[in-house]
Symmetry: C2
Subunit: 338 residues, 2 copies
């Protein structure tokens, strides 16, 4: 399929020339910005007609250059977080998109798959293509330090980042709800299934679990690393093979995806859920199909969080003060796994 070389698009100057007016006059008619410049009705109509005839369309790049702002908001997800089928991410992206749309801004997805260096990524983020950035990152990501030192407005999402305004869900409160739910069902020994990385949210859930366990007479017998969709690790297996009485009776997973993998593994191993092992997650993702078991979890409003992040970012961009941390409430969802 071949296409004709596109003719150069008409510019404001073209319109102005055809209408026998200056660029400024044409601009003020077509972009209704300047009230200073007055235009007669006849001239205004002539300019509009000619613009329509020439199919004039303003050039956003030129405007951005002059205005020193592009109306584009960037979204960057730290390495490894952007894996496909990350449910939580589709919610987030949906929310960002809606919020940007309302604000009449565009959303730019920064990708970083091909082992690009921090410098490289930092350059891309700060090259003025975006007016600001919504960021999901590990607290120890060197990029975060660079961004903090830069003048680019940044809002952290999901995982609080010190020194940056952050929008998060109530990690501690949610975990407390889960712990109380388990305690009320007689569980005395539980274990935590953590992502192996320095995610602030996971650290908070972990800490909250320890506190809540202590408060309700439960013991956290161990913490085992587990990625997004990971099978049981060696330590975890060992722990589950302990004799009755020492064995944990519930798995507290840092995310629903992680919890669902535990369910799958249990089935493989012949462990009954919840009789042999209760399982709880975090996120409250909405499965697109009926799952074998409905997971007990905590529903986190990710779409709303993303919206808030955009709102705060716009405040930052426009120079207003923003709260250091915005925490959104979560709610317990009781399923069949406890």
């Amino acid at each position: 399929m071949s296409f004709p070389k596109p003719a150069a698009a008409p510019t404001l100057s073209d319109v102005a020339a055809r209408a026998n007016v200056s660029k400024v006059t044409a601009s003020s008619v077509l972009h209704k910005s300047r009230s200073n410049t007055r235009v007669s009705e006849a001239t205004r109509q002539r300019i509009l007609d000619i613009a329509a005839e020439l199919k004039y369309r303003p050039n956003a790049v030129a405007r951005s250059l002059r205005r020193q702002s592009t109306s584009i908001i960037g979204f960057y997800c730290g390495h490894g977080l952007a894996t496909a089928h990350n449910f939580f991410l589709s919610d987030v992206i949906g929310g960002l998109q809606e919020a940007c749309d309302e604000q009449r801004r565009d959303l730019l997805l920064h990708g970083a798959f091909h082992r690009r260096s921090v410098d490289d990524i930092f350059d891309e983020l700060t090259n003025r293509t975006v007016d600001g950035l919504v960021l999901i990152a590990y607290a120890d990501d060197p990029l975060v330090e660079r961004l903090r030192a830069s003048s680019l407005p940044v809002v952290a999402l999901a995982d609080a980042l010190p020194g940056l305004p952050s929008v998060v869900v109530d990690d501690a409160g949610g975990t407390r709800l889960l712990a109380e739910h388990l305690a009320a069902r007689g569980h005395r020994r539980v274990y935590f299934r953590a992502s192996e990385d320095a995610l602030t949210s996971v650290a908070r859930r972990h800490a909250a679990l320890r506190d809540a366990a202590a408060a309700h007479g439960m013991t956290v017998v161990g913490t085992f690393p587990a990625g997004w969709r990971a099978p049981l690790g060696a330590g975890e297996m060992q722990c589950l093979a302990l004799p009755r009485g020492e064995r944990p009776t519930a798995a507290v997973c840092w995310s629903d995806t992680s919890a669902y993998s535990v369910l799958t593994e249990c089935r493989r191993l012949g462990l009954r859920v919840p009789e042999d092992l209760a399982v709880v997650g975090f996120d409250g993702i909405e499965p697109p199909m009926e799952p074998l078991q409905r997971l007990t979890s905590v529903r986190a409003p990710w779409t709303e969080a993303a919206r808030r992040a955009v709102a705060l970012l716009v405040d930052r961009i426009e120079g207003r003060d923003v709260p250091a941390e915005t925490v959104l409430p979560v709610e317990l969802v009781e399923g069949d796994t406890t």
Copy 2:
């Protein structure tokens, strides 16, 4: 949280002034574009040092204006197609992101939620913010006609659009596989569950089903509309209530999501799958959790399709010829629902 007003970022002129050279010299050193302009090693080093000291970062907007190209690729999904939790979409976005990353281009997600007019959306898409567009749309969307007439390079994805290079999966072939699979299991009467909209892919699956049914002695007893996640409609219910012999024994759904809703409904109605009704889908989405029943479907390589779309779009942008239609092969996935 308040932040200091950012100091104006240093520009090429700033660097050049500090280094006692012209903008051009600084530009050629820092952006290694021009081989024409020669620079001595000493000067080069001085410029680099000063740029580093000032933390100079090139302004992408200015560059884009001069080059008349932004290196940004847009993605637009027709109204109603961009619903959250659309599995197929996360695959697509993932593929787009990867491909853009490889090409060192950015990906801009255009959103259109707030009942914006076609004109409005068209203006946004053609305001030169993006060099080209990957488009998923209904064939009868008026926007498509406008885009075809514009000079913006566009590649259609998933649903072929006449007059635009399109990247699709083998809708007809996949449907044929499903039909043969059903025929081999003795099904003689089936029905089609279609999205109510003018999606080329659905039309093709529908047509292929009729052809394959005819070829294998099956009857398509009806076609019932069903959105992404729709319960059974009145016509569909009626049809399923027909006496043995007239009742269809299999539902061919236009998407996996639609098929999964049928499974849920069957459970509600006490219909056994596959004994009372066999169900097949299309897409082969990878559930993040173990589903109650594994769906028989056709796996479509959406991530790869998205990658191809970007590749073709880049060809278009750079003026090369592209095939009118690229069809990617699909494969049958046998589940427990047939």
